[in-house]
Symmetry: C2
Subunit: 340 residues, 2 copies
DNA sequence: CTGTTAGCGCATTCAA
DNA sequence: TTGAATGCGCTAACAG
């Protein structure tokens, strides 16, 4: 066995009796002007010494780390996980690694992460922006650091952004409810904040679709509430004289909260209430009844974001744009047909 | 605005009219022998120039990157995601970043990732081993590269390993079934492979617990089958003359598959069959009936793994050991009381 | 208290 | 076709 000492490129050069630069060429597969036996000798020396290159040194020289940063609110959220997986798959093909950081929606944490990753010289960022950090993004733009946003639009920034067509998602839900004869439609979303594009758009899309379908927009049916007080709010709504017959859950967490409420309150699906959830959930199929869901094209979104970032990194990018991907409705049994 | 050129430490030094090394000391907070106004001047120069340090160069010199690698089969699996999150939280406190790679259980991919991350000089690895790469791990051991395993035990390797007490998990399930009067207990697990510690131990723990509780071990009730043919296999079992009254799902995926089968076959929970699932699932509460589950202490596992790795990195580690964490049973409504 | 010097491991001119 | 020299940006002795 070789000693514990780190083998460098000059050790290999010495061993093969040639110069460092030739070895370097070999490593970078520039075989063009290299003698066949030189090549052979280098190859042998490398395995004999158990040499493995130090990419750090290489990156320092080349100013490229083949590493990107992904900044996300919380890796535990299903949508984020899927998007990240898609990004990693795309990166894998380009031999790029990803460093992912959880901000928990904390702008300061986000900023700290971005700065540290910049210090580590990552080649670019894909971020689910926490909002409120516009100046940081702005500076990155000026420094021409490759950057792609996912899921949330920062209106004043010219940055590639990819997300689902959220308005279309609510529209799909409304259309499906309407098709089954529902007219009293409700929606429940977590607390709205200005930069939370998906929630905002899903709500506005819901209202628009109501109008398009000549359905009444009833303010009492529009719930936006923190998850921990959502059940209470639902309780009020279903205690009303004229409760809705159908409700859209704005995301997976909302859906689970709603289901818990219905279970506790003995409100039966789909007889007492029809339901559609935005976001895929693993139990949609096996629930009683199967839950009609609208899936986000998470993999497409992740893939596209990666591609856009690669374009920026390789300097082949076009003007920044917002890319929207279509949602898809999976009809199951949670919407009752009213035959009205 | 400053030009697009990269500001380095010598620019700062020049600007502040002192030497690079003093600036370097400032950056590393070695203020001890530094004049107050020197400090002040450096500080001003830094913000004036908009300097941000290049950690790559620093890492090259210090032989430490403050980055670790996490090798996992698939980030989409709930358990992995939670463990990773816990690791990242622990890393965050030490200002360490994580690069995570998905192997999809492919040993070659795993090896490639580990080699590339070594080339990037990561300070250590936390891996969910895919098995079959014993020689790679062995080499890492010899090179004294900090390494911690999660979830799977490689018996011939002296490496810190942290996982749930899997046998105890099955035991908890058996005890709960027994408490409710069940005697005909089945288990379903995905295909067994030699290095898949959790599945193996959960099965062996199940059998042991059966004996401890003086319950019969019936081979027909022990299903180990790929997910895509599991339903078929269940069909056979429930078509038997004397089917089980209770069944343990070895993990979350198995549980979902089972629930789908029961739904399709109109086998009612918990009247026709009682069920417990190992692994937390987001719908355990809201399902009808609520599913009794046994949760893996994913956060504890991740945290411990990170701590062990830090110890190795800081050279404060003790002998490699296997650490097991207790599972926890959450009783809900999916186990019927038989009063036999 | 601060500056000088010498690398870390590699890639890249430019000569030979 | 190969080798010598230079520097990426930073840290770490060691002087002064």
């Amino acid at each position: 066995m070789t000693t514990t000492k780190k083998i460098t490129i000059s050790d290999v050069a010495k061993h093969a009796n040639i110069s460092k630069s030739t070895v370097s060429q070999y490593l970078n597969e520039r075989y063009e002007y290299m003698g066949a036996q030189t090549k052979q000798r280098i190859h042998e020396s490398i395995i004999e010494l158990g040499y493995s290159p130090n990419y750090l040194a290489r990156s320092l020289k080349q100013k490229k780390t083949f590493t990107i940063g992904i900044i996300v609110a919380n890796i535990l959220h299903g949508f984020s996980t899927k998007v990240i997986r898609a990004i990693e798959d795309a990166c894998n093909e380009e031999n790029i690694h990803t460093i992912v950081c959880n901000t928990d929606e904390d702008p300061e944490k986000e900023q700290k992460y971005m700065e540290m990753l910049q210090a580590k010289q990552v080649d670019g960022f894909i971020v689910f922006p926490a909002g409120e950090n516009a100046k940081v993004y702005q500076r990155m733009l000026e420094q021409k650091i490759p950057l792609v946003f996912i899921d949330r639009i920062m209106p004043d920034l010219k940055i590639d952004t990819v997300l689902m067509d959220n308005e279309r998602a609510s529209e799909l839900a409304v259309e499906n409810f309407a098709k089954h004869g529902h007219e009293k439609l409700a929606i429940a979303t977590p607390e709205l904040k200005p930069y939370m594009t998906p929630r905002l758009e899903r709500l506005s899309g819901f209202k628009k679709a109501l109008q398009t379908n000549n359905l009444p927009v009833k303010e009492d049916y529009l719930i936006s509430e923190n998850l921990d007080s959502l059940q209470e709010r639902l309780q009020h709504m279903f205690a009303m004289e004229d409760p809705p017959t159908a409700i859209l859950a704005n995301n997976d967490l909302t859906l689970v909260e709603m289901l818990e409420f219905f279970k506790k309150s003995d409100i039966r699906l789909p007889d007492d209430i029809s339901i559609i959830g935005i976001d895929d959930v693993p139990f949609a199929n096996v629930y009683h009844p199967g839950i009609t869901t609208i899936e986000q094209p998470a993999f497409k979104i992740g893939k596209k974001a990666a591609e856009l970032l690669f374009d920026q990194i390789n300097d082949t990018a076009s003007e920044p744009e917002v890319y929207r991907f279509a949602p898809k409705l999976f009809e199951r049994e949670s919407v009752k047909t009213l035959y009205e």
